[in-house]
Symmetry: C2
Subunit: 160 residues, 2 copies
DNA sequence: TATTGTTATACTCTATAACTATA
DNA sequence: TATAGTTATAGAGTATAACAATA
């Protein structure tokens, strides 16, 4: 009847059964995130003194020079006041610069500074490498498959 | 050189590029969790007035009658004082009952009440069904593959 | 009128430290 | 000495409401 796999009924920690939870994407995402969060903290969070949101903002601004707070808030699914606070921190550390849009003077266009570019480049390199090393049980192809499936889950954000 | 897939360079929200982030498991997990968190809140969080941690505790206790706070803290990767507070809430709502272990009187053995069993059973049913409906883009086999890959990521918790 | 962004504020969730009781 | 669990407390991260400036 049900083709959903439940290969291992124990928690990663090994102590408890998780029969029903094993079929829940939300639960499995949270469990998997425990691993990636640890990797992030060790490789980027502590050495660069960057919270996950801060790193993600840097990466998105780097890929999208001139982006606005509104689009970043949307991408990260956090409130506008939050983005303001995080951006303030990045501005104070001179990792990001801000300029008022000439065409729409309500908008603040955000860009990385040279320092910001350096930080986000190094951080991303470290993260990708560290995730690969941490996830030794997954082949390169399996990792690619996982990323694609996650992307397709994420794409259901608007479908409602 | 690099076989990691980057099918779509835009954020699920559609506005921004995410070239480097697309290869990071941690980022993709967070983006995917935006979808499952919304599903959770609609289907269980609001109707049952249960926070994610509370639901997960109920599910784990249900699968592991007599489990201790310590094992639950380990499974969820949260601190012991936190577990105490959450369990207190579940006790106050009579969804869980607690009994001192006879063999080790420091331990508190946790079990679901009848009400707790009812709640967690209904909540799990709703969640599994709602996730399936929300993730229309994924076939049954792809969903199973995703769950298995996530489980294998999570299993790297101890490998360090 | 709607949107961008900010300030003020309060709430939720979290962890650390210090403690009690058992082992 | 070490572990299970609790209490007290403070910090991090979050959102909502109210506002100013601009469209």
């Amino acid at each position: 009847m049900d083709s959903v796999a439940r290969l291992d009924l124990r928690t990663p920690a090994g102590a408890l059964l998780e029969s029903a939870l094993g079929s829940l994407v939300g639960y499995q995402l949270a469990q998997a995130a425990i691993v990636t969060t640890r990797v992030y903290e060790e490789q980027v969070g502590q050495p660069f003194e960057l919270r996950p949101v801060e790193y993600t903002l840097l990466a998105l601004i780097g890929d999208n020079p001139g982006s606005s707070s509104a689009s970043l808030a949307q991408a990260l699914a956090v409130s506008a006041p939050n983005i303001t606070a995080w951006i303030d921190r990045l501005l104070a550390r001179a990792l990001v610069r801000r300029r008022q849009s000439t065409t729409d003077r309500r908008r603040q266009e955000l860009r990385l500074t040279a320092a910001g570019t350096t930080v986000v480049t190094q951080a991303t390199e470290r993260l990708i490498e560290a995730e690969r090393q941490a996830l030794t049980g997954l082949s390169r192809a399996e990792l690619a498959m996982l990323l694609e499936l996650l992307q397709r889950v994420a794409r259901h954000r608007d479908t409602r």
